[in-house]
Amino acid sequence: MSVGILMLVHTALDRAEQVARHWANAGCPVVIHVDKKVPRKTYDRFVEACSDHALIVFCKRHNCEWGMWGIVAASQSAAELMLERFHEVHHVYLSSGSCLPLRPVQELKDYLAARRRTDFIESATTSDVPWTVGGLDRERFTLRFPFSWKKHRYLFDKWVDIQRFIRFKRRIPKGIVPHMGSQWWCLTRQTLSAILEDPDREVFDAFFKRVWIPDESYFQTLVRVYSSNVESRSLTLSKFDFQGKPHIFYDDHLQLLRRSDCFVARKIWPHADKIYSGFLRDPDGAIKMSEPNPAKIDRIFSKAVERRTKGRPGLYMQSRFPNEGWENGMTFGRYSVFHGFTELFEDFEPWLARATGTRVHGHLYAPERVEFEGAQRFLNGALSDSAKLRDYNPIAFLTNLVWNTRGERQCFQAGPRDEHVPVWFIAKDPNAQVSVISGSWALPLFKSNMNFADIRKEAARLQKIESDQLLALRSPYAKARVRIWSLAEFIESPMEPLQTIIDEIGTDPARRLAEAPRMTDLNGFGQFLQNLKNQGMHPYLMGDFPVTQSENTQKKPPRKPYLVQ
């Protein structure tokens, strides 16, 4: 009783020989098919090298091109030879030259001997699986593919389009239902001989010769006709990348492969010496009867596929530069922008830091320099506080800042003085939380010692910029969490909006604000605004302020910090 190995080989013949000897030494007959593209000389040398082993034989050579019939023809020839030559074989295992047995051959033999009637072949109906890369699933069977996908991609695609357009359909022979699956199978003698000796084989072969990638469907389909006991999985560990190419194993995967308990893995890099020498040696230790467990390897490779297709959110780098709308996260994580708060509250930044436990910066986009927290000159990732460096690419400055401080929420101040704030970018970014007190830019002017003519000019400028900024924040494209209050509205009940914002930042959800930031003195501000109006410059962004405040508020001593319980 033994297992027969079919090996399809086209490169790295030395490795193939090594593996073939390993199988044969353990008593498994090996039939090798060498691609016809391999030069005669190389082939002869290879046959010669293996000739000393009675259990290694060679079958008729076919031309194997990916996606074409040749690979199936090769498997058929090899299988026929195997069944004819080695009568004690009860299971036949199809493998390639870059496959490698990971467990002692005896374990595979025992495993299969305990499952004498089971065919291990991945086989699923086309409609049920989303495996196919390139969108051809059922059409693989119903269209014709005279052009090579590898060499004449354009013609291949066009020919498919034409056939779709004229609704061309081939007839599928009676008695079979198309199935697909991994091309690496292990079938019983009964099933395999039934497939190969079927009286209708010519009909089936003629049909599959024109199917695209028949090696993934020929045996997978026919096995359903003859087998009574199909176990739809492959015993060969083989992982595919996002383009449907197999992942390759290297020396650093050695431990992973060991722990996978799979019988055979592909593909192994031919120069992975440690893997080859590690696995191709006589078994030591007890024979295990464990089931294959490729979960860990699965995770690594599916992560690789995800990295290649989706990437890391908020990262812009040399090999990831997404077009607009394809960022999968414009920035790495959430951050908060406070527009016009420092003008109204005198100690807003330290207060916010205490209330939320986040990192609170000043005006990052201040015209003079970047106001990092604590007036640092540099920040994470060696971001510089130079305004020129920042303004060279304000968006990159922001995305870098958020990326560099991963895991720590950033808050920063903004306002109309900060002309270079990338307000459209922030508005479109769902990670941004923007809170605006419009019109509070007038407060520093009100307190300043400038000439009134200059104040008027500056007020006009700031109002213009802020209204543009508000336009972006209010646009239908804005995806940020935006809240806008006019100054008059905000000072009506300042604690309520503050509580909402801080709850949303959510570092400590249950906490009520115990302490309020100190509001700047607004006495006379109404008159100041009226003066501006009298000069023909109408400040409107702050809402309505009465010219004079009512008697009793004016008499009050400076407002005490208010508490909301």
């Binding site: 290297y250 890099w269 290649r308 812009y316 040399q318 990831r320 020129k388």
Partner: protein, 336 residues
């Protein structure tokens, strides 16, 4: 890109190739071992002048990675470089006294050598102060990478320049021949790079790092480009356009993904900032043979006198490629 643009690019590429043929005549072979190049060999091409002190470690590093043959252009070194290289079988050297600047900063010479010797080979183009790292470079030789690229039908591989610098004054430690420069200069900037797409060639234009931060803070636009595509499966029809920043045909510049995913990429650790720099800066400024009237060297020479500190509190100490990958400076992409 319309037909007209494609045609213009084609002309430009042809022009480059013609130039490289003409400029290759300026090179005279000193040691030609190219007959030893076998069909699948991985080649390295480099141009230098007076870099003897760096060569021992440079050669050791790239031989360990698995580079099979070195093609060097020696731009009239006076420090005994030629003597040092003579007799090494995996090295071929050409000598020239001609102008580096007028050979498009060496690119014409290297395009010429590559056209002649690198057709069908994976070819790495680096300066003697650049050390190529790529995903898994500590466990897999460069052939694993090129085999994988071949397998994935990828023709070019991007590796951004990452400037490494020492802590403290540059002249505090003297670099000795054969020494790993990363023992001295092992700090880098992790997250202050800016990217832009170059519409003409389709490559990314990356700036930032310590050079922008310290030397070009007042004029960031002039800061040196850090994007590089040093590893290409060469074809005699290809040509580098401006240093190794961009190539023609333009498809080779597409080393980045635009649909959210990450392609695999590496990095070139740029060990320019050693005690050798100030001497170099003075010499190169005098010669005026470098890009944009040696603007970069001028900036160094002006400031090096005052011993600027490149290191800052947020500098990152270099450990390995995995660190760069986690920081987002390079990516494993689909390679696992």
């Amino acid at each position: 890109m319309g037909l007209w643009d494609s045609y213009r690019m084609r002309l430009r590429r042809r022009h480059r190739l013609m130039r490289s043929v003409r400029k290759a005549r300026e090179l005279s072979p000193v040691q030609n071992n190219t007959h030893a190049i076998r069909p699948n060999d991985i080649l390295l091409v480099s141009t230098f002048r007076n870099e003897l002190v760096r060569l021992p470690y440079f050669l050791e590093y790239y031989r360990n990675l698995g580079v099979d043959h070195f093609l060097f252009v020696d731009n009239d070194s006076a420090d005994g470089t030629l003597e040092y290289l003579s007799g090494q079988d995996d090295i071929s050297v050409w000598h020239t006294k001609h102008s580096y600047r007028r050979a498009k900063f060496g690119i014409d010479w290297m395009n010429g050598l590559q056209r002649k010797y690198a057709h069908g080979h994976w070819c790495l183009v680096v300066d003697p102060d650049e050390f190529f790292i790529y995903p898994f470079c500590d466990t897999r030789p460069i052939r694993a990478l090129t085999d994988w690229l071949d397998n994935s039908s990828i023709r070019s591989f991007g590796a951004m320049l990452v400037d490494v610098y020492p802590r403290g004054r540059l002249d505090r430690t003297t670099y000795l021949p054969g020494q790993d420069p990363l023992e001295i200069a092992n700090w880098f900037d992790a997250g202050n790079y800016t990217l832009e797409k170059n519409p003409a060639y389709g490559n990314l234009w990356i700036q930032g790092g310590p050079r922008a931060r310290v030397f070009f803070a007042d004029n960031p636009k002039k800061a040196p480009a850090l994007n590089k595509i040093p590893l290409v499966k060469w074809n005699r029809r290809y040509a580098y356009v401006s240093s190794t920043h961009s190539l023609l045909p333009r498809g080779l510049n597409q080393v980045y993904d635009e649909w959210g995913g990450e392609k695999a990429s590496g990095a070139l650790l740029h060990t320019k900032f050693l005690n050798t720099l100030s001497e170099k800066a003075l010499e190169e400024m005098g010669r005026g043979q470098h890009y944009a009237s040696s603007r970069e060297y001028k900036a160094y020479a002006e400031q090096l006198g005052t011993h600027p500190e490149l290191w800052c509190k947020w500098s990152e100490k270099y450990i390995n490629w995995r660190q760069l990958e986690i920081l987002g400076l390079m990516s494993k992409g689909n390679w696992a």
